[in-house]
Every structure is written in structure tokens, then in C-alpha cells.
């Protein structure tokens, strides 16, 4: 059993193996400026229908620079637990307390 600890990095330019996250956007404050997408190192298509970073799917880079760049700080995240299901395909589930170790 491998245990990965969640590393809180204060240098967002360093991309480390982190626990995947799912981003959430407070649409009420979002000004649809797209700065989160401009700074996002993900591949093409990691976007929402409202020109923000993707919501509702896991981000395995978890560098959080999108949260930092947001002029109105309206991006938050929940940690997801990564694992393999019985068929050998990856699955993710929300991790309620947001601080737990990920067990793979």
C-alpha cells in the first residue's frame, strides 16, 4: 500500500504529485475573465462552458494557480480520493474533510 501525503507547496510554479482536486466556482462572483484558464497548465479542453477552468472533473496537477490568479477569489476546491476500482480503472471520490491522506 502506497501512501501519498498531501504536500502544501507555497511555490505554485513547482508542480508536484499531489492529491487530485475538483474545482468549484462561485458563479455569483465570477466575472468570466478567463485568467484562470490563461494560467492553467492543463491540456486543451480543461475548461467549463463559461470560459473558466473545468468544474466537476478532477485536476491531477492541483497546482492551484487558478485560485491564486482569480481577481475575486471565487475558485475553491475539494480534494478527491484517487483509487482503482475492481475493473482496474481509476476512480475518484470526494474527500469530506479535505485533509486526509490518499491511499492508492
Amino acid at each position: 500500500m502506497v501512501v501519498l501525503t498531501f504536500i502544501q507547496s507555497f511555490n505554485p510554479s513547482i508542480i508536484t504529485m499531489k492529491q487530485p482536486v475538483i474545482f468549484q466556482i462561485g458563479w455569483n462572483a465570477c466575472i468570466k475573465c478567463g485568467a484562470c484558464v490563461a494560467v492553467c497548465p492543463q491540456e486543451a479542453g480543461f475548461i467549463s462552458d463559461f470560459d473558466t477552468i473545468a468544474v466537476g472533473k478532477p485536476c491531477d496537477i492541483a497546482c492551484m494557480v487558478c485560485e491564486d490568479i482569480c481577481p475575486v477569489s471565487t475558485i475553491t476546491h475539494e480534494l478527491v480520493e484517487a483509487g482503482m476500482n475492481g475493473r482496474g480503472t481509476p476512480y475518484f471520490t470526494f474527500n469530506g474533510n479535505g485533509k486526509k491522506l490518499v491511499e492508492v
Binding site: 466575472i31 484558464v37 475548461i47 491564486d68 490568479i69 481577481p71 475575486v72
Partner: protein, 391 residues
Amino acid sequence: MVVQQYDVVVIGSGPAGATTARIAAENGLKVLLCDKRQELGAPIQCSGAVSRHGLESAGVEPSDEYILEPIYGFGIYDSNGDSTTIDYRQIKPDEYGEGENRKPLGYVVDRRRFDRYLMTMAERAGVEVWLKTEGIGYQPIEDGTCEIQLRRFNEKLTVKAKVLVGADGLQSQVGKWAGLRTHIKLTELASCLQFIVDKVETAGLLEIVTGHEWAPGGYAWVFPKGNGYAEIGLGVIRTMTKLNAQEQLDHFIKQSFFKERFSNCRILEVQGGGVPLAAPLKTQYADNLILVGDSARHVNPITGGGIHTALSSGVIAGNFLGELLKTHKIPNRKNLKTYQDLWLEDMGNKMWQLYEVKKEIFNTSDIAVRDKMLYNTMSEYFSPNSEYKKI
């Protein structure tokens, strides 16, 4: 199904995309210009300042249709409020001013009207324009052209083109399709917020407030916005401050030497965005693909200005594509590199120099020294003798 064929397909109808499309059409090419939005220019992510020279060099007539207010110079402030005024109405009174035979130095434009105006110019030059049309992907194919997948009012369709032009802004997905690293480092993307306000006086000048206290890593601005309105905004580098742009703007409005001036201001619009204070993209081309404007980071790294640079790159790209396709050269990576070379020669090399200046300022760790360097650089930059005046 018959696949429609074009010489050039442009994705994104901002200043860079619409200008590329227009100039390419004027060169006799068959051009399709797509934009996924229903209303161009919106949501506004830009302060709207552009020089008259920038418009005219791209063949864009200054027009009341999109101009909010003419600009005659600059006011540069240090963090304490001491300032340098560079008013071209006083420096060159025969040339600049409101009277007959005198002209403004530049304008603040309404990006919604401006972007629509540029698209209309393209349309009138023969460009086919599709709104509510987003790009999904592209693949170079064996015959030397490429296939582009689009979604138009929910309908998926494929078109063919010799060259795809990515003009899809800072958030460029087109560049990523080709594997170009278009995303910007957090340390080089200014997080910006601005308010259009009532009850703040302006005097035909672009006012720029420097100083780490007010806008760490960037600067704050007060621009005239027409009809007695003004625009108060700022950009910050988030690694240099704990406050986000919104909190930093609140601090600037309530605590700075302008707090009396702003005390009755009423917010009419909220706008924001990312502004790259970065080097241009090192590779702006791939097989059957070039990038223009913000997507190639054609933005002045000192001022954050991107309209003039977008228009200029559109002219370069449009003319280049006209020449290239007239000679029936294959638009592969190798042949499209010439576009970037031409762009570097015209303004890219100067932007690289400005990037070095910018880096030197913001890599200075002593805040007082850094503040002074930025104030001096801004004051020199906008002076009549500046060597960088044209970008």
C-alpha cells in the same frame, strides 16, 4: 456532406483575429472568421486604451462608433502621489489638441463596439463571419491542408483550410491543440480588476499609479471613459501580495492619495482579466497554424497594452498569409516560421527588450528601489523621446 474549404480560418474575433482576417481577405484569400460569443468584446477584460498611431497603422479609421474618449497624454504617479505629467497638448500644441488640424494622441475605446467595428471591417472586405461558433480541434492532413472541427449553434461541423489562425486570446485553446505551451506563469500574469465609475473627474490623460503599496507587481490606473465616467483599475502579481485584485483595488480606492477624489465614486460596471507581463511566446506557429494577438502573448510587458500590438500582428499575419498562399507554398511548420520572423523584426524584438526591462524592475527585492525604477521607467516610456513609443 460537402466540406467547405477556405484558405484561412480564424478562431476568435478580437482585434488580432478580425484584423488578420480582413488583411488576408484584402490579399484575395477566402477567409472564415469564427467567434463563439454572441456579442464581441464582452465580457470586457481590457482597459480600452489604444494609440491613434496604432489604429491608423492598421488602417482603422478613428470613429465615434467605438471611441469613448480622446486621450492627450499621461499622468504618472509614485506611491506618495508625486507625479510627472506628460501632456502632448502642452509639449506639441500645434499637433495635439482639440482644435482644427490637431489630433488626439490616442483613445479609450468601448471594446464591445470596437471589436464589432473591426469584425464589420473584415466582413466588408469579404470575410465570412460565423458567430456562436467555437473551435473544437484541428488536424493537419496529408494534402497539406488541415481539418478544423467547429460547433455552430450546437451543430458540429468540419471545415478545411490551408492555415488555421488562433486568435483566441490569453486563454488560447488553439495553441494547445498544436502542443504549444500557451499558458502563462503565475509570476507573469497580472490579475486585474477595474470598475467603471461615475463621479470621478478626469482630464484627457491616462493616469498611471505605480508603487508596491497600491499594485504589487503591476500598476493602478485611472482612465477617462467618456460621458463623464472614469475607469479605476489595477493589476497585481499574486506571488507578490497576499491580497487579491479586488481587495487591492479596495485598498487603493479607500486608502491612497486619491481617496478624496474617489470618495463619491459609484460603480457602474465590474470588469477584469489577466494581463501578461511576460515575454512573447517563443513558438507561435505549428503545421497549418499560427497564433496572433494575446494567444501569442503579443502584449507590451511594461504597459500591459495589447490592442495596438494585436492590430499590428494581424496586419503582419494577414499580409504574410497572402504572400505565402499566392506562391502556393505548403503551410507547414517550416514555412510558417517566417511569420514569426517578420513579427520579431517588426515589433517582437522590441517586446523582448521591454521584457528584460520589466524583469530587471520586478526582480529588484528592495521595494523602495523597485518603486523608483518603475516610476522612472513609466515616466520615460511615455515621454516624447521614448525609443519604445511605437509599441
